[in-house]
């Protein structure tokens, strides 16, 4: 099937879309700069308008449809596939990307190495049939057998080329994919992925100091950035502040890895773990006695991630990355723009919704 995007400026762009392929996926495989954020039906960023042709609408209850005028032909590119040749319009400028980011594709692999990190957080790996390249901070869409729709998960590891992707997932009560993984914890389930995706990527060539703000499993992409920064010596020349928010000391994970990094780069890397559950938070490193291991160079703070922002190192050269639940991301953006004077160019985010 041919999809044609009519444009205000420039000739129409036409690309091939296989039957059942989501229009967003096909556009991205053709390196078109179509807008998207979650790629999973929740945010509404991928809205487009059908001018002619027929669509399979996929998930009818997608929360991202809330802001759309479906009766006027608006649809979500990440949920719809084409039933015929289609002409569509997109409310922003679209062109062929000249960025260095790898072109996303369908990937086949096997889930392995489940590892419970806390009561409700687990890590797992997917071993791919072929190697991929991606940037630290990117995510992939996981499709599990028998579950409707894909889910986005950010890569925790980083390597220039790899056939092994590591992820971390938080369990949600009633959540189809997270419960599937927690209950089955099957080593060797065959799964498919689509990726890499996402714009909130670490670009070492920009030579920026970093401010990393993570809520819960939002730490995933930050771990990949720290891993890459460590590999390429970035932390020898640049300051990096990480604020990692969890509920209580029992909910902390990756403590061993973070401690090791903080000890390696005592001058440039500052890591704060923010505990939001006030009843639990001691507000000092006394908490170390509660946790399974001493915290060494990690600082413990009381409160939400955005409440720690006033104490971080930041100037006009800093690039902030934010990932986690949407309210955490929104509150952090508000603080960075309102109190720290950050411009839009200095902020990259992923809302885990």
């Amino acid at each position: 099937m041919n999809i044609t995007i009519s444009r205000k400026a420039g000739e129409p762009l036409t690309f091939q879309c296989r039957p059942h392929e989501k229009i967003l996926y096909a556009a991205l495989q053709n390196r078109l700069t179509v807008p998207y954020e979650c790629a999973t039906g929740t945010c509404g960023s991928c809205r487009a308008k059908l001018v002619s042709g027929a669509l399979n609408y996929g998930w009818r209850d997608a929360p991202g449809l809330k802001a759309l005028k479906v009766d006027r032909g608006e649809f979500l590119m990440c949920q719809c596939s084409a039933l015929s040749d289609c002409e569509i319009r997109i409310p922003s400028a679209v062109s062929v990307s000249d960025s260095d980011l790898a072109t996303p594709d369908h990937l086949a692999g096997t889930i392995t190495d489940f590892n419970k990190l806390t009561d409700d957080v687990m890590s797992f790996c997917i071993t791919l049939e072929n190697e991929v390249s991606f940037q630290a901070g990117q995510f992939a869409l996981l499709q599990l057998p028998g579950v409707d729709g894909a889910r986005a998960y950010s890569m925790v590891n980083y390597a220039p080329h790899t056939d092994r992707l590591e992820f971390v997932i938080k369990q949600y009560k009633g959540g189809k994919v997270s419960e599937w993984l927690f209950e089955k914890s099957l080593s060797s389930a065959a799964v498919t992925l689509f990726g890499p995706l996402g714009h909130a990527v670490f670009e070492p060539q920009l030579q920026r100091n970093l401010l990393l703000l993570a809520g819960g499993s939002g730490i995933a992409g930050m771990m990949a950035m720290l891993q890459q920064a460590d590999q390429i010596g970035y932390l020898e020349k640049h300051s990096v502040d990480l604020i990692f928010g969890v509920r209580s000391s029992q909910d902390m994970f990756y403590v061993t890895e973070l401690k090791k990094l903080a000890a390696t780069y005592p001058d440039t890397l500052k890591i704060t773990i923010a505990l939001s559950d006030v009843a639990d938070a001691v507000g000092s490193n006394d908490i170390a006695s509660d946790s399974a291991e001493p915290l060494d160079k990690l600082k413990i703070a009381r409160g939400f991630v955005h409440e720690q922002i006033n104490s971080v190192r930041a100037d006009t050269d800093t690039m902030a990355f934010i990932a986690g639940p949407p309210p955490m991301v929104d509150a952090s953006i508000r603080e960075l723009v309102g109190s720290k004077g950050f411009s839009a160019e200095q902020i990259r985010y992923d809302k885990f919704a």
């Binding site: 960023s45 005028k69 997109i90 409310p91 953006i333 723009v337 309102g338 839009a344 160019e345 902020i347």
Partner: protein, 118 residues
């Protein structure tokens, strides 16, 4: 011209927004320091309510949803924003902020021949 009082200058402190309603029309009054401005109350990107998602700093209005930004004085788009923000005519009458509400300003999000949005 249909000038209507919408609020008092004291109601809106510097670099903040206030949601006002006059004759059933909702609008957002901004105090830019040396003057006042009034905008439709929704973000021209995806219609988020700007009284909740908007934040003002240094004469720039930012929608925290996807970081679209505008010059608060001129309404011009900045950074990733792809459309300007619409503005009502505003004047002061003593400490009353007066807005010309002849016609409610709205973004064409979905008209078929709308060239702005698509």
């Amino acid at each position: 011209m249909t000038w209507k009082p919408v609020c008092s200058t004291q109601d809106v402190s510097e670099q903040t927004l206030k949601l006002c309603k006059v004759d059933g029309i909702a609008l957002l009054v901004a105090n830019v320091g040396d003057g006042f401005r009034a905008y439709p109350p929704v973000c021209p990107h995806m219609e988020e309510p700007l009284d909740e998602s908007g934040i003002c700093a240094d004469g720039v209005l930012t929608c925290t949803k996807h970081l679209w930004q505008w010059d608060m004085r001129t309404g011009e788009a900045k950074g990733p924003a792809e459309r300007p923000i619409l503005m009502y005519d505003v004047r002061l009458d003593g400490d009353q902020v007066m807005v010309n509400l002849e016609k409610e300003l709205e973004y064409d999000f979905d008209e078929d021949d709308d060239d702005d949005d698509y």
